[in-house]
């Protein structure tokens, strides 16, 4: 099977030489429970980021397939990705696949295969276009193919519990979905059936956005954005009624994104030029009111990308409108149903995305291309992808840091760095400080890390024969591979330069240095 072979996602590890991430242009960003995924513009090279580790753990990889990732969602033990294939591919249109959390092992896949005789045509409009999750239910959108529901395997190891997906197409002008396509898992799915649907029902709506609203007490609603508007129906049902939107222009409106915030019963719908919110599970939508003093409320924004990204942080929805105007991040903040700020204006220091908060994308003519949030201790970790300056990470209560500015370490322990190198015992916020280590093993091995003082007197052994993976650009277990600035008896060391030896049982050896300024104390 050509398609299946194309989706044979043997993830090969390959690392950038001058940068800890695979690229500085990372438009596809999303999160699962184990970390963030950030895909480069080619959709093949990715960086896997675990923000819960200190230092941030970054592992890079590349997918071996003909197409590229165009979107995805994270699940607990796998990531669900959808692919687009280049027009030059005469066989496959798009695919849906799952990777495990390390990005190493392909699991379930589906690929849409072109019907014979229409090798160069993708006008059938069948390509994976949207994903949504609700507990173990996956909702897959496939252009004019419609959408399908699937259940994940209970053990979390597989994406689909069944062996096939039945796509319901949405005939134009009708409220009822019609079975149009049956695709078997791990098998190429011929899309010629869509042509038959077209002949029979007229051109169906093309699904472009999906969201599940589970905030209602007695029902779970599926919202479907399409080329022609918004539909709403019960999850698992077949009836999807059009929802009226207070759009500026009458007629069809293409829906690009739908965001559901279940804990606050809020839905946001974004079209190419407008946005709407609902507080009654999608029964009715309203335009957000403008606030005096905010120069650019969403309804006056022009030129924004038709694919805004958004994350919830606390009770604030942060939307990246991806303005084409360089130098304008295009971020707009909504708190519940109100626009509260954009471009970092206003008194919202906890969520500012501007230079003062180290998210400096303006000077590089860059713009935000993606946002993702991941729950962590103390709040959400936010990850912002940009068009030219890489990834920015914001940990709870911390400033943004540009992950691309992190040092790409030489392999084989040829370089061991410490950060902070100047150890003062406590961080600026008063919390105990550690000297973190950055090193990169060439091979898997057992690592011993020992601290010596200037006179090469042994101070402390941090870890002994601890197994560590090779290949990553950071210490694999950063919470262990760090020094608290104390000697073996548990007391702070004196002021001075300290030498940290990292040795692997594979013969790799490297030294890092740290300078203690704390002193032993009285």
């Amino acid at each position: 099977m050509r398609a299946a072979a194309c989706l044979g996602l043997a993830a090969a590890l390959g690392f950038g030489q001058g940068d800890p991430l695979v690229s500085k242009a990372l438009p596809h960003v999303f999160a699962d429970q184990a970390g963030f995924w950030a895909f480069a513009a080619d959709g093949l090279h990715y960086s896997r980021i675990d923000p819960s580790k200190d230092p941030v753990d970054i592992r890079n990889g590349a997918l071996k397939l003909h197409g590229g990732v165009r979107g995805g969602v994270g699940r607990s033990a796998s990531a669900l990705l959808f692919f687009g294939y280049p027009a030059s591919d005469s066989v496959t249109v798009g695919g849906l696949a799952a990777l495990d959390r390390d990005g190493k092992f392909p699991q379930d896949t589906i690929a849409f295969q072109r019907p014979a005789g229409q090798n160069k045509s993708i006008t059938l409009g069948v390509e994976f276009s949207a994903l949504a999750l609700w507990h173990d239910t996956i909702v897959v959108g496939a252009g004019r193919g419609g959408f399908a529901l699937a259940k994940a395997k209970p053990d979390g190891q597989g994406v689909f519990a069944g062996d096939s997906l039945i796509f319901l197409a949405l005939p134009d002008g009708e409220d009822t979905g019609t079975a149009a396509l049956r695709c078997k898992i791990n098998t190429a799915c011929k899309v010629s059936a869509i042509a038959e649907v077209n002949d029979k029902l007229g051109e169906p709506d093309s699904v472009s956005a999906l969201a599940v609203d589970s905030s209602a007490a007695d029902s779970v609603w599926l919202l479907i954005g399409s080329q022609k508007g918004l539909r709403r129906g019960l999850l698992g049902g077949k009836t999807f009624l059009p929802v009226s939107l207070p759009a500026a222009k009458a007629g069809s409106i293409r829906i690009e994104r739908i965001f559901a915030e279940p804990s606050r019963a809020l839905l946001w719908v974004f079209s190419g030029s407008e946005c709407f919110f609902s507080g009654d599970h999608g029964r009715s939508f309203h335009k957000p009111p403008r606030i005096a003093g905010i120069a650019s409320a969403p309804d006056s924004l022009t030129g924004f990308d038709p694919a805004p990204e958004a994350v919830f942080t606390g009770d604030t929805l942060v939307v990246n409108f991806n303005l084409s105007n360089p130098g304008h991040p295009g971020l707009v903040f909504f708190r519940r149903d109100t626009v509260i700020a954009n471009r970092g204006a206003g008194d919202f220091s906890d969520i500012l995305f501007d230079k003062a908060d180290s998210l400096d994308i303006e000077s590089g003519q860059g713009r935000l291309t993606g946002l993702a949030a991941m729950a962590g201790a103390g709040g959400n970790h936010l990850l912002a992808g940009t068009s030219s300056k890489g990834l920015f990470l914001r940990r709870p209560g911390k400033a943004w840091i540009n992950l691309n500015s992190l040092k790409a370490l030489k392999s084989g322990l040829a370089e061991v760095i410490t950060f902070p190198t100047l150890f003062s015992g406590t961080a600026a916020d008063g919390t105990p400080e550690f000297v973190n280590l950055g090193y990169r093993l060439k091979k898997n091995g057992k690592v011993t890390i020992t601290v010596y003082d200037y006179a090469m007197e042994k101070v402390k052994t941090l870890v002994k024969n601890a197994p560590r993976l090779g290949g990553g650009n950071r210490s694999e277990k950063s919470a262990e591979d760090r020094w608290d600035g104390k000697d073996a008896s548990g007391r702070y060391v004196s002021v001075g330069t300290y030498y940290i030896l990292v040795e692997s049982d594979q013969g790799e050896k490297g030294w890092g240095k740290a300078i203690a300024v704390h002193g032993r104390g009285p």
Partner: protein, 336 residues
């Protein structure tokens, strides 16, 4: 059948447990500049110089040997070690009266390449921390074979990063020495190092580190002390293969607690230094030694210079069981 412990035994056990401390280790304590010694000849002999009349700089090793310098002597040396560690010494010493000697010594250790990053891995530049110990010594003979001496030392440390300094100047630390000739072949010495001017005679100091905003922008003041050190040394001259062989040994006790004297063994650690200097010819000496786990070797070569002496010294040292090997220690000594 078991007998219950009496209450007083339990109380004693609990009191002991409450007072128990984990043993201190020398690593990480201040005084590393002092512990690493000075002088390339002495480095080749396992850092033994306390009971040697040739020791340079004597103001550092033992001020009591200063009056035994018949001529004015000068010395300089560089000790470049692995991991970009630099070091060196300079000294001038001589007799200033019939029974009095005076000397000045400088010891330097540092690192010229510490790549520095902040907590977010943002590069801060390269730190080049340097420590400098300065010693001013005076020795007085109480008889032809007996002398006492005292040295005062300054200590300073410069972080050299981001326009900042880790600074301080530690003034007022004393070393006291005694030296005794027991004949032509046997000499002994005792030195107490790192004494301070306070009730505990503890060499306390505060060190403030300041860096500008480019280098984390912090100010920290560290309170610390130099471990009080007792050195007992012996220098014995013998013969091997018809040539003079000088043997030296030093036993050191470091008190790792800030008090006049601690009887708790947990706060003491000991070290042993051994050295040998074989006079192969009138011009050439071969040396070897061991300072704890540091094994060293070296040689000295005396260039003809009339009645004066100009000696080239070389040493190689392997630290802590060959953890590092350091072949770049050279120096010159001259008598004027």
């Amino acid at each position: 059948m078991t007998r219950r412990l009496p209450r007083w035994a339990w109380a004693l056990a609990l009191a002991s447990a409450a007072g128990a401390t984990s043993p201190e280790i020398l690593g990480g304590h201040e005084g590393w500049l002092d512990r690493m010694g000075g002088g390339i000849r002495e480095l080749g002999m396992g850092n033994t110089g306390t009971a040697s009349e040739e020791a340079m700089p004597a103001a550092f090793w033992n001020p009591a040997i200063l009056p035994f310098n018949r001529q004015t002597a000068v010395g300089v040396g560089a000790d470049v070690r692995s991991l970009q560690r630099n070091g060196g010494y300079a000294g001038v010493q001589g007799r200033v009266a019939a029974n009095m000697g005076f000397g000045v010594g400088l010891l330097n250790r540092g690192d010229w390449n510490v790549p520095a990053y902040d907590a977010d891995e943002k590069p801060l530049g390269t730190a080049r921390p340097q420590a400098l110990g300065s010693y001013l010594g005076l020795g007085v003979k109480s008889s032809r074979s007996n002398s006492f001496g005292a040295a005062v030392q300054w200590y300073s440390y410069d972080l050299d990063l981001g326009g900042g300094t880790g600074n301080v100047n530690v003034i007022g630390i004393f070393n006291l020495g005694w030296y005794k000739r027991w004949g032509n072949d046997l000499k002994t010495a005792v030195v107490v190092r790192n004494l301070g001017l306070n009730a505990d005679l503890s060499a306390d100091f505060d060190q403030t580190t300041l860096t500008n905003e480019d280098a984390q922008g912090f100010e920290r003041t560290a309170s610390d002390f130099m471990p009080k050190t007792l050195v007992a040394a012996v220098f014995y001259t013998s013969h091997a293969f018809g040539k003079t062989l000088d043997l030296s040994a030093e036993a050191l006790d470091y008190q790792l607690k800030r008090e006049l004297y601690s009887s708790d063994a947990n706060f003491h650690t000991q070290a042993l230094r051994l050295g040998a200097d074989w006079h192969v010819t009138d011009q050439l000496n071969a040396r070897a030694g061991m300072d704890q786990g540091n094994v060293s070797a070296g040689f000295g070569f005396a260039f003809p210079w009339g009645r004066r002496k100009l000696i080239f010294d070389y040493a190689i040292v392997a630290e802590r069981g060959f953890l590092t090997i350091n072949p770049f220690a050279v120096g010159f000594r001259a008598t004027l």
